[in-house]
């Protein structure tokens, strides 16, 4: 316990390491052993050890163990690996496009690829996803076409958001992937409403949503936990604790560094899971889905991970943390861990990895080439600026019609 001994001038926390320091993750909650998997109708209080501990399936020896092992087939694991590799290669390509001015801005999922991919794979296709900008990978699971994703990021003629939002603000209703919004946190409380609507309609649909460690300080986090628990919403509420909110360390978001436990006093079973462990993520999410689907209400999950890259293409993390810091993260890298596990069980090889990587690379490259045919940011063509006026309302009212006409006049002049 810090503090003590009289009045100090305003205490302000700090990050555990800054540029020049050595990275230090001693506080990482090494799983003390395998944690139990409770019944889905358990009380929140029965999950305290899960919230204070860390659910892992893949050990440092790349073997699985414990009650939480989802016992997935190698095919499913390879599928997951492929999605994660695709996301990483896709992200790298997009960053290159950003650096060459073909798109305006980008945000990678680097180091966090497992989160949305494992979790979405653990759900049914009819379940609703309400993501932030750090879960685009879910779209691969739901079979979204990469060309359309790239077109969105460029904001060209084929962007289904019609150039209205910044890159990475995907929407993909067909895949029940709900429109990403910039104000952080808002989706978390909205997702409870989505879930309650499914419930009201008597449908066996679950909603999953994510919020960052930083954004969990918004009021929406509290609204979500409160409304979800009071009305027993079939919702999975994830706090993705990747340690940083831009330059602000999670020490400014939680005094004790544990987000999972916050769910328990709301009466919501809460679990902390290793966010770089594909199998653990899958397993915990299946459990939560089962629970929600059977009418037992919400689950609160802290996904413990590390933002390995910059916050966004506008950010330079070397100004506020050691540049190689992510290499020291005790959770390792989600892609390596899954591929090492597959090798361990004899279902994967360096050669296969290499081949898959190359195949994805050329797919991404092909998608990229296809997408820029519809325009890139540097060269156009852009979506018509008519899209400024459409879908503001279901039908444009007179004042929008008037202004639209005026805009057209200027555009043509």
């Amino acid at each position: 316990m810090s503090g003590g001994g009289g009045v100090d001038p305003l205490y302000v926390p700090d990050a555990p390491h800054r540029p020049g320091d050595e990275a230090d993750f001693t506080e990482w909650p090494w799983s003390p052993g395998d944690l139990g998997r409770p019944e889905i109708d358990c009380d929140a209080s029965e999950t305290l050890d899960l919230a204070e501990g860390l659910v892992r399936v893949l050990g440092d020896d790349n073997k699985t163990s414990g009650d939480w092992d989802p016992k997935l087939s190698p095919e499913v694991l390879i599928q997951g690996l492929e999605h994660m590799m695709r996301l990483r290669i896709f992200d790298d390509r997009m960053m290159k496009m950003q650096r060459t001015g073909k798109l305006s801005f980008y945000m990678r999922s680097f180091g966090e690829e497992a989160v949305a991919i494992a979790q979405t794979m653990a759900l049914e296709d009819r379940d609703w996803l309400f993501p932030t900008y750090r879960q685009p990978g879910a779209q691969f699971v739901r079979n979204r076409d990469m060309v359309s994703m790239i077109c969105h990021c460029i904001g060209n003629e084929m962007d289904n958001v019609k150039g209205r939002q910044m890159p990475v603000h995907y929407t993909y209703k067909e895949g029940r992937f709900i429109s990403v919004s910039s104000p952080v946190g808002t989706q978390f409380s909205q997702a409870v409403g989505v879930a309650l609507a499914s419930n009201y309609k008597g449908l066996d649909e679950v909603t999953i949503t994510w919020i960052g460690d930083g954004a969990s300080a918004e009021g929406d986090y509290h609204y979500a936990l409160n409304f979800a628990s009071i009305f027993q919403a079939p919702v999975i509420l994830n706090v993705v604790n990747n340690q940083w909110a831009i330059s602000t360390h999670k020490n400014f978001a939680s005094k004790n560094g544990n987000f999972a436990v916050r769910g328990i006093p709301y009466g919501i079973p809460s679990i902390r899971v290793d966010g770089n462990d594909f199998l653990a993520l899958y397993s915990v999410t299946s459990w939560a889905r089962d629970r929600a689907s059977k009418g037992f209400g919400p689950t609160h999950i802290e996904v413990l991970t590390y933002r390995a890259g910059a916050h966004s293409s506008s950010d330079d993390p070397s100004r506020y943390r050691p540049s190689d810091v992510h290499n020291y993260w005790p959770g390792g890298d989600p892609i390596s861990r899954l591929s090492e596990h597959l090798k361990q069980i004899g279902k994967w090889s360096d050669k296969q990895h290499q081949e898959l990587s190359e195949r994805i690379d050329s797919e991404v490259m092909a998608a990229y080439k296809e997408a820029v045919k519809f325009g890139d940011l540097a060269n156009g063509p852009y979506p018509s600026s008519d899209a400024i006026f459409t879908e503001v309302y279901e039908e444009p009212p007179w004042h929008l019609m008037e202004q639209w006409d005026e805009m057209k006049k200027w555009r043509e002049s």
Binding site: W128, F130, D159, N160, V161, K162, R164, Q165, H169, T171, Y172, K173, I178, S179, S181, P183, T186, S189, Q190, A191, V192, G193, V194, A195, L196, A197, S198, Y200, K201, T207, G219, D220, H222, Y223, A224, N226, F227, I230, T390, E391, V392, Y393, E394, P397, W398, H399, L400
Partner: protein
């Protein structure tokens, strides 16, 4: 046709929609078991079930967010904010989220939510039970803004709002819940025998975007909404000046045709609202009217509004615009 006060008319509108459409659902603070602090949902939980009309936690932000989620997933939530003064914790969810989701998602998701809220002064509510924050919603594209004034238009507009596929902020002048307000706090009439209190039991709509011509005349156009409509009626009668009285009803989108036609005819205009003057919706009306009717105007457009101060408690009658101030403004428009 039954006579209803505005509380009953609002209740009837929600009741009608709950009966007609299973997608309609209602919640908010104290609206369930108790039926609302103003009784606007009295009996609705009993009639339609606890899962369709229910109490919510005391959190306007949470109410708006939950309604948003339900709205994009196929329901048509009607939520109550207990007093318009308490809508601000939900402001982000309304202006950044509800207003923009259709547009931002390329039309994939939309949010047919109606947010009802009692607004305005005249019940000794002091600064946090009297505000009329309509203009703070009119600046945000994607929202529709409605302000009813009588039992008849309350029901017809509310049904339109609920059936509308865009988010609608629906203001109810709480001072008029039980009777029209003519500006005299000591003379408190009820709605009985008032023609605008003849309200059909059944479903009917007043289209959003259409104004109501409450009085007809040719020397001045008086534009108002909410409780002030009745103050204006009183003022026009006492002024002896022949006036059009336009009850705007919908602020966004407002009825440009009705307004322009009237001002073109009268050449004079007075706009009356309870909210503070600076950046009240009267500003938009005046700015637009001078743009559209400049050559018709015989005198400056007048605004009669609340002062640019918080709303007081004890001395609220020195704050609320009354008929005298409206009369004086009408007379001033005739001078030049």
């Amino acid at each position: 046709m039954p006579n209803m006060n505005m509380v009953e008319a609002v209740n009837s509108a929600i009741d009608t929609m709950l009966s007609k459409d299973e997608e309609v659902i209602m919640f908010g603070e104290d609206v369930g078991y108790f039926g609302g602090v103003f009784r606007t949902s009295d009996g609705l939980q009993e009639r339609h079930g606890k899962h369709r009309v229910f109490d919510s936690p005391l959190s306007e932000g949470g109410i708006a967010a939950t309604a948003f989620g339900m709205g994009i997933n196929g329901l048509r939530p009607v939520v109550e904010i207990q007093f318009a003064d308490y809508i601000f914790p939900a402001y982000d969810q309304i202006v950044n989220e509800m207003a923009k989701v259709r547009h931002r998602s390329g039309g994939e998701f939309w949010c047919p939510v109606t947010i009802r809220t009692p607004a305005g002064g005249g019940i000794r509510g002091g600064h946090h039970h009297s505000q009329s924050p309509e203009s703070q919603f009119t600046h945000t594209p994607g929202l529709k803004v409605v302000y009813c004034s009588t039992p008849y238009n309350a029901k017809g507009l509310l049904i339109s709002a609920i059936e509308d596929n865009d988010p609608v902020i629906f203001f109810e002048p709480k001072r008029c819940y039980r009777g029209p307000f003519y500006g005299d706090p000591h003379n408190v009439p009820t709605w009985s025998d008032h023609p605008e209190a003849e309200v059909p039991e059944s479903h009917y709509k007043i289209p959003l975007g259409e104004a109501r011509l409450a009085m007809e005349g040719d020397r001045c156009t008086v534009i108002s909404w909410g409780a002030m409509v009745h103050v204006c009626e009183q003022a026009i009668k006492s002024s002896g000046v022949s006036c059009d009285l336009i009850d705007l009803q919908t602020l966004v989108p407002w009825d440009v045709e009705a307004v322009v036609k009237s001002v073109a005819k009268t050449g004079r205009c007075v706009i009356v609202h309870e909210a503070p003057k600076t950046s009240g919706f009267g500003a938009e009306m005046a700015a637009s009217i001078q743009e559209r009717c400049f050559w018709n105007l015989e005198s400056p457009i007048e605004r009669v509004t609340g002062w640019d101060t918080p709303f007081p408690h004890t001395t609220e009658w020195d704050y609320m615009p009354g008929p005298d101030r409206v009369i004086a403004a009408i007379v001033r428009t005739q001078e030049d």
